[in-house]
Point group: C2
Chain length 331, copies 2
């Protein structure tokens, strides 16, 4: 490996001067600078970031813990986090939690404080307050939920408002029997319960009673959406609209409708959440709530960076703007 010392010898200067040139610091005369750059070229020298960060006490790597990058939503999120981090000179190491509590706890407490300058975590299961002891002044940004009691940096989206807007939209379109195909549970604070709340608020505001038969606890995947529709059908439940917890679930729902010969949007209107890129190209294209991925990613990286600069800064809580994208599935 070519080191600064090698370059220094080659250029006939000291290590320090090489360091100054390589890092574009002032206080080096033009001739010397030229000589050093030439030596760098010749030797093929590359800065050893590891050594640099050892000195700085930083690694330059931000961890991003998500359930799985194979899920389109997290893929898109990852894309934006990587871009935002790159803009600030950070690399991103992606950790997969498998949407399991152990995976998430692992991601937080295990080895990360050792390798990463900060962690952006999209916790699905874990209540991070339970893990508070594990990180103590290590920069963590929670993504996707709120209600962490201001104890921790957080970037969320407005789940209630988004879900409520989606439901109101269906009501405006004339739906009266609107199903909510949501996550695993309505208890606690998580995506499912939040979005369910938005759903019920919209119904109540419109004077429509909440019918438990229309609420499907299904999970979060495509297959679960499909099964939910089959279940509703088999139970003889009538419905003319579906608010799905995510686009993936909505896609499953649309597929389930097709299985049963129900047309979308003529018989049943469907709205999703996330605005993954395939939505626009489905037939029918899928109406959805776009949660401002880029906005969230940039804010999250910003929070990590600012906490590194000032570890004592009080926690901040940000909420991304959302937008309802109306497409054919609710025409």
């Amino acid at each position: 490996m070519v080191t600064m010392s090698d370059v220094a010898r080659l250029a006939g200067v000291s290590k320090m001067t090489v360091s100054n040139v390589v890092n574009n610091r002032p206080g080096v005369s033009d001739p010397v600078r030229r000589r050093v750059l030439e030596a760098v070229q010749q030797s093929g020298y590359r800065l050893n970031v590891n050594a640099r960060t050892l000195k700085a006490g930083r690694t330059g790597v931000i961890g991003l813990a998500v359930p799985g990058v194979d899920q389109p939503y997290f893929g898109v999120l990852g894309e934006h986090v990587i871009a935002a981090a790159a803009a600030k000179g950070f690399h991103v190491a992606i950790e997969q939690t498998g949407a399991a509590a152990e995976g998430e706890a692992e991601a937080i407490s295990q080895s990360h404080r050792l390798q990463f300058d900060g962690l952006i975590i999209s916790a699905v299961i874990l209540d991070p307050r339970e893990q508070a002891h594990a990180w103590a002044d290590f920069p963590i940004v929670m993504l996707g939920e709120r209600d962490y009691g201001q104890a921790i940096d957080h970037v969320g989206m407005n789940n209630e408002a988004g879900s409520r807007a989606a439901t109101e939209h269906l009501i405006e379109r004339g739906c009266t029997r609107i199903a909510n195909v949501t996550g695993w549970s309505l208890e606690g604070v998580h995506v499912g319960s939040r979005r369910y709340r938005g759903y019920t608020e919209a119904l109540k505001a419109a004077g429509i009673p909440v019918d438990p038969a229309l609420v499907c606890l299904s999970g979060m995947g495509q297959e679960t959406g499909r099964r939910a529709v089959h279940d509703l059908h088999e139970a003889g439940v009538e419905f003319d609209g579906v608010v799905a917890i995510t686009d993936s679930v909505a896609i499953g729902v649309m597929r389930g409708l097709a299985d049963l010969g129900m047309r979308c949007p003529e018989d049943v209107r469907v709205v999703g959440f996330d605005d993954i890129s395939v939505c626009e190209f489905l037939t029918p294209s899928l109406t959805t709530v776009a949660p401002g991925h880029r906005w969230m990613a940039e804010k999250a990286v910003e929070l990590i960076a600012s906490r590194l600069e000032d570890p004592s800064r009080p926690p901040e809580d940000h909420t991304a703007p959302y937008e309802l994208k109306v497409r054919e599935s609710t025409r």
Copy 2:
């Protein structure tokens, strides 16, 4: 930050003994070991991986350079690479190249050799041979293409055979006017030209002439697939089957067909490539070539690991098994 010295002082031993205990090395008496572990507990000491790897010259991080994790195919690939790497004790840092030559060259030559133990790169544009000088004995695995002249470790899929199987399948189904919606160019060695070749082979074997009017150079996204269908239609070209270069393109194609009131599979049969998870849930579900993501990911990580152990090992070239998944779009 708590260092080994701190722990050593606390336990009343030397740094070295702490190091030995922390790394589970033999040659430490039980009482001392216990005392050290206690001190570690009390102080909250964590090993500084950075310092260790500065010494060892390794970081334990493998880079994965892909066009973008927001593309479903690369999301799935990333998922498997991360899992395979984790099984061998590596972290994965994902780099995005944006499918641009600069991005790819950057990913290879710029700073990575400094941070990563190896790089798995899915090069879309770049011919890596042109960059050969840039890495010299840095473990790189090329993903997705072949014909790198055995100069470099490579894990590919059988693009020709897969595409040929897809085309043959359409022929068997009775299609006679089969379009190929492919990448940017038919020249050179890349996914587009490879799969185009498989397409032509199948046609020739069946005695069907290759009609240039049926070959659409469109790009790689959903939108480009849709536009290709519109273009064919506007040009008055008749077709009853489409071999799309990727599932994303195929999804665009299906959407384009819907735009124009053409039914799939009744009027036009469509087959994709990649087997991204949404295929199964589309209406109609999409027939596609599954390229063995997991197999490729595991092999790639294996190659990095083995090259780290033996840098002089000759380059290997592996080809993943593929499988045609027949679904409704070609019924």
